[in-house]
Symmetry: none
Subunit: 151 residues, 2 copies
DNA sequence: GATGAGGTGGGGTAAAGTGGGGAATTAGGG
DNA sequence: CCCTAATTCCCCACTTTACCCCACCTCATC
């Protein structure tokens, strides 16, 4: 499981350094091959390639005549892009994905289980603050059957 | 079960000494490997790694298209960070977590069952005082179904 | 008062993160 | 089809940070 946030810089060429603590694992699990795509919440999702294959096959299996399914396929598969770590452990983000997530300089590189999320630092902080002040989180957590969750 | 509060100092490098009475147990149960994350009350939570894995797997199993579930995942998994005790029994708290809980120097290191809580000393004292002077506590305890609790 | 463990501080070093130059490749326009 | 421009890739170098180790200080105990 990937976890934790790491603040990194996006350089003028659109590269971000993958935090070093993940690199060895990414080399062994996916030979440094990753897939970036968009997220509904205007951040980017970064998957080790095998993980992405799983998602992609699930999406591809959705009914072809369902409009919502097709919208989802277009969003995730259509915007997906393979990237590879260079010798310094950096990945190059395509320009249209940088624009999509409004990434300019400071990036929050967030571990989220089997994938990563890439946020503009300001957007990430705003999300965190919003989650903290949102009382629905505890209410809905209980409603979702997490009442017994011992955090 | 961990219990009791212990006041320790955060040094200039962001390290805190784990109270010695817990160290041996942490070495045997989790090989000195711990996970720190945030709490909604602006303190930090410190879990032995196996304990954290339990929680993380519950969180990871939440539905991906539920906005509240994702907010919870982002908050807890996204801010989680593995830490390891050094030879002196100290852990290094990442800068963003120190900022989050407004930790500067004096820390309350609080045992809370299977985990620990880390509070700024002032915030901890204020919490305690607030809980004592809050006359609604008894009412809320009853409302929460704790009426028959024999302390 | 001596002794030892718990707690604290700091310095040196290796590694992580960052920036940029220049070659190679691709795309677009004349 | 060629020339130009932009992008990507590979390399090197610098700066900063985190980590490891050693040393000291303080307090309780004997």
């Amino acid at each position: 499981m990937f976890r934790g946030v790491c603040l990194v810089n996006l350089d003028a060429k659109g590269r971000v350094a993958v935090p070093a603590r993940y690199r060895e694992r990414l080399q062994s699990t996916c030979d440094s091959r990753l897939v970036v795509t968009v997220d509904r919440d205007r951040c980017l999702l970064l998957y080790p390639e095998p993980e992405w294959e799983l998602i992609e096959s699930k999406l591809a299996a959705l009914p072809a005549f369902d409009n919502t399914a097709r919208a989802i396929q277009r969003l995730y598969i259509g915007n997906a892009q393979e990237v590879e770590m260079d010798a310094q452990g950096r990945i190059l983000l395509p320009h249209y994905l940088r624009d999509f997530a409004a990434l300019d300089k400071r990036i929050a590189f967030v571990g989220q289980g089997s994938k990563f999320e890439l946020w503009d630092e300001g957007a990430w902080n705003a999300r965190t603050e919003a989650a903290l002040s949102d009382t629905r989180i505890s209410e809905l957590a209980v409603a979702a059957g997490l009442g017994s969750l011992t955090l």
